[in-house]
Amino acid sequence: MTIRNFFTTALLAAALTAPVLNLQSAPAATNLTEESRRKEAEMLAVLRSDKPLGEKAIACKMLAVFGSRDAVPDLAALLTNEQLSSWARIGLEAIPGAEADRALRQALGQVNGRLLVGVINSIGVRRDVGAISDLIERLHAADDEVAAAAAVALGRIGGERAAQALTRNLTQGTPSRMPGLAEGCIRCAEGFLADKQAAPAARLYETVRLAAVPKQKQLEATRGVILARGDAGIPLLMEQLKSADLELLAIGLRTARELPGRKATEALAGGLRAFAPERQPRVLLALADRNDAAALPTIVEAARTGSEELRLVAINVLERQGDVSVIPTLLETAGDQNTKLAQAAQASLVRLPGERVEADLLNRLQSAQGKTREVLIRVAGQRQMGAAIPLMVSATEAEEAGVRGAAVQAVGLIGGVAQLEPLVQRMQKTTVAAERDDLETALIAISGRTGAASVPALLPLVHNGQESVRVAALHALAAAGGPEALKVINATAVAEGDDALRDEAVRTLATWPNTWPEDGAIVEPLLALARGGAKTSHQVLALRGYLQYVQGNRNLGQPNKIAAVREVLPLIKRPDEKRLVISVVDSLADPAVVDLLVEFGGDAAVKEDACAALVKLCGRKNSGLDAAVRRKGLEAAAEKTGNEDLRKRARSQAAEI
């Protein structure tokens, strides 16, 4: 469960305790346009005709948008029609004015069973005060469904008279009537709350809470009583949170998030440790979701002491709820022996919001030592605190390996061209393999971000005495990209001498990362290596790199891609490269591609790949290939493939051409 955005939670909390929404605003006076009038007349003509029921149904629906009181009689006449009653109510529920109310009321005496339930439901939606007597009468209907509908409709309409009727029946009713009556009472209470009448709302909720109603209604009433009572509801809230009944605990945890006010926060915070230990994390989460600053000391204390679970929850909460004051606690915990706690605390430090937080972290970093310094450097890097870069750079020379490693990583994360020189110097000095790897990663990261501007700073590494450093230089240069970097790497790839370094240079060219695949400058070196590389492996790698470039470059149009592939076809001997060619061309709708795939279909090693590509390419009706070419490709695939399913598909698609 994520600790939510507290800003959102705060707004939600306000919404949760706001007066109940009136789902159906009081209808306004009709102000429809002439166009609406015209449409209304059309729809009424349909209703008055002998047109099919389907057309009449849609007419009812359109009258919900365009109908006026003039449409009411025609719609009302359909309320007794089992097939069209629901459609008619779509219109009647929406049309403003007393006419529709009267029509629905009159229908109460004309329909029974489900149709009557529907009419009552619509009256409830329209909140027709004039129907209260009729609805009270139907609380005693023989049909439970009708009585429940009446109770809920009364609840929606609300007011003292409805409340009295519902309460009276609730205390005297039979079990089958309780769910509807309880729902009616609760909706009625919501209406009181919406009108800022907390006292009658609380009384009504309490009546339901103590009545023999279904458990869910009891829970809703419990929540309602607490919210309606406000601060006076706190004891009842705490009672739920301590309850052995898990359903009561559950409604307590939800309500604890809703009940507004500082006193509720204080009660929850002050009482936290009185709950059973296994319950404390959940109560703390609820407390945190209130987004009340008064809870902060309790959350900080929970982050320091208590069960591991409670501390983890508290630390997680602090990343959103905390401020500059919680930094010491989080820093201390980030150095804890318990790695779960330490990691959680560091993560919270990374996300802790506020400019004052960054200023405080920076200030601490200037004098920090040991583990704290390491944590602060990591946090500063991950927070992308540019102001901390000088401190990070100086820490790359620290005595402690942990601090140095954190510093190199942090500089790699946010450093720029200016930070390459100290990293390069460090790279030339270190003899520790792990540190060299960290430095290489940082150099690649910075070079990748800053591009060709980083090349001059990297060049000293190219001539370093250690091979691993020269390899790292190649990688960083490749990450930088650009003509100068390419020149250096290509020169290494074709130079006599260090064989392993040359291999790595070829490999780096073949996986040229920066500006790939738009960097067309890589083409010539790759083609040259593919044609005349010193080793077969160099030729193969270069060829593959070249084909990948062709495949990935969106700027190359279809004809250029085909031409580019054709240029290297004489060099392609191995099945692996042929497969790569197939993957490059299998979406290029061109007769030459079909010919090539047909040719590859004759090579036992790749025939299935070629046949599958032919079916993919030629099977598409809208591929752009003409019918004869498509048929040729599909027939070739059907003839050459050993896959029976593919053959069937090829033949079937050929037959459809």
Binding site: L23, L84, V117, A250, E258, L312, Q409, A445, A500
Partner: protein, 447 residues
């Protein structure tokens, strides 16, 4: 642009492993390593932390008291997938399926019984029978959208927590009723908008919310079509046996029409109320929802909506624009969103990749997850069932995201600008639009 392409670059790592070059294996340099180094140096923790499972009692073996007993309502294609996500969770005990279609009831029972090695999964034609069971804690609702909202509210009223597929509601009033019902009942709700639980979308939203893009000014959502779809009345056909397909229950809250098997495609039936629904609801419930989240607008909706050519433009009260458009995306998979501020932009989609105006923005973007799995979202729901906290896509968030989609659809249906007051929940001086906020439910159903 080059940066976006680099992000999408296929790694060449595997290609280097040829039989001719064993010596080249040791210190492989690849585009993947380049990207990792460039974007993720250090152990970055950019996303909000989650409460450890230990807090929630799911450390390995699950005590009976911590087990969540689950039922399902309406399980077709999508539901089958999401149910699979639930069944993978060790603290879920699935016990019952309610579906109006016999074939689906049997398929789910067979699957559950095979998993548990018993015959205990109970089947129900009528969801009310399932909801009457006191032993069921939570339900997965994956009916067609016609039933989503009503079934969710019936479930909450019956004391169940709810994971419901989207779109969750048919109109504005139903959206408000959904939120209010879950407040009233104290039940946990999770809309099936699983992208809220996926790292690429969460990362993009986090950047927007934390001001890393500067002052937000425009949010882009891909609605997957802006055409309204109308569910009407079709030629009557022979009504199947009630046990095979319960047509009356299938119609549920939708106005009556005679049986026609063409309507049994529950995916589209009565979506968005059957008058103004369609693509905007189908995909907007995801991508508009993500824009709402990015704009910290889970408690409100845009105040103006206007069709503009092939697009729909909306404006929030804070001045941020929301653009619903089908074209012009970078190509990062389905359901893309794009957030733009005065200091940068970020765009992501279902393939899990993220493109941004600057590589620095992508620091700490974390592991790529593509294919929009629902597992994380399901887990979030289950955890919240235990803590009673609000889920990532709770009823309020779903309510307002859906209101935004419904209001957009109403603007499209009326083919003009409409202005919405999210406090009063009414269109301003616009009776036609206001009448489209709700629709009567067929008897005996109510919300």
């Amino acid at each position: 642009m080059q940066y976006q392409n680099a992000l999408k670059a296929k790694t060449a790592h595997g290609l280097a492993s040829t039989s001719h070059s064993p010596a080249l294996e040791s210190r492989a340099f690849s585009r993947r390593r380049f990207l990792r180094a460039t974007l993720q140096a250090g152990a970055i923790l950019a996303l909000p932390q989650i409460v450890p499972g230990a807090v929630l009692g799911k450390n390995g073996a699950v005590a009976p008291s911590e087990r969540i007993v689950l039922g399902a309502i309406g399980i077709g294609n999508r539901g089958s997938y999401v149910l699979g996500c639930f069944l993978e969770e060790p603290d879920v005990q699935f016990v019952a399926i309610a579906d109006v279609k016999a074939g689906r009831r049997k398929a789910v029972k067979d699957r559950a019984d095979a998993k548990y090695g018993n015959q205990d999964c109970q089947t129900y034609r009528d969801l009310r029978e399932l909801l009457a069971r006191q032993d069921i804690d939570a339900v997965l609702i994956a009916t067609g959208p016609n039933w989503h909202g009503l079934a969710s509210m019936l479930s909450a009223n019956a004391g169940k927590d709810v994971y419901c597929e989207k779109p969750c509601t048919k109109n504005i009033v139903e959206s408000l009723a959904l939120a209010q019902t879950f407040r009233r009942t104290g039940r946990v709700f999770q809309a099936g908008t699983q992208r809220r639980s996926l790292p690429n979308f969460a990362f993009a939203v986090d950047l927007a919310q934390r001001g890393k893009l500067g002052r937000l000014h425009t949010l882009h959502a891909h609605p997957g079509g802006l055409d309204p779809k109308t569910s009407g009345w079709a030629e009557p056909q022979t009504v199947p046996d009630k046990d095979d397909v319960d047509w009356d229950l299938y119609l549920g809250p939708a106005a009556y029409r005679p049986f026609n098997k063409g309507f049994l495609d529950g995916f589209n039936f009565e979506k968005g109320g059957g008058l103004t629904g369609g693509g905007c609801l189908e995909w907007g419930s995801h991508c508009v929802d993500l824009c709402q989240w990015a704009n910290s607008a889970d408690h409100t909706a845009p105040v103006e909506y206007e069709p503009k050519g092939k697009e729909l433009h909306a404006v929030y009260a804070n001045g941020v624009r929301l653009v619903l458009r089908n074209d012009g995306w970078i190509g990062l998979g389905s359901c893309p969103v794009r957030f733009e501020g005065d200091k940068g932009w970020i765009e992501t989609g279902d393939d899990g990749e993220i493109a941004a105006s600057s590589p620095a923005l992508l620091t700490g973007k974390g592991a790529k997850v593509s294919g929009y799995p629902a597992n994380f979202h399901v887990r979030d729901f289950l955890d919240c069932v235990k803590t009673r906290a609000h889920t990532r896509a709770d009823a309020d968030a779903a309510c307002w995201a859906h209101i935004a989609c419904h209001a957009a659809n109403i603007s499209l249906f009326l083919n003009r600008q409409v202005k919405y007051d999210p406090v009063k929940n009414e269109f301003i001086g616009d009776e036609a639009a206001n009448r489209l906020r709700s629709e009567a439910l067929r008897e005996p159903w109510r919300i």
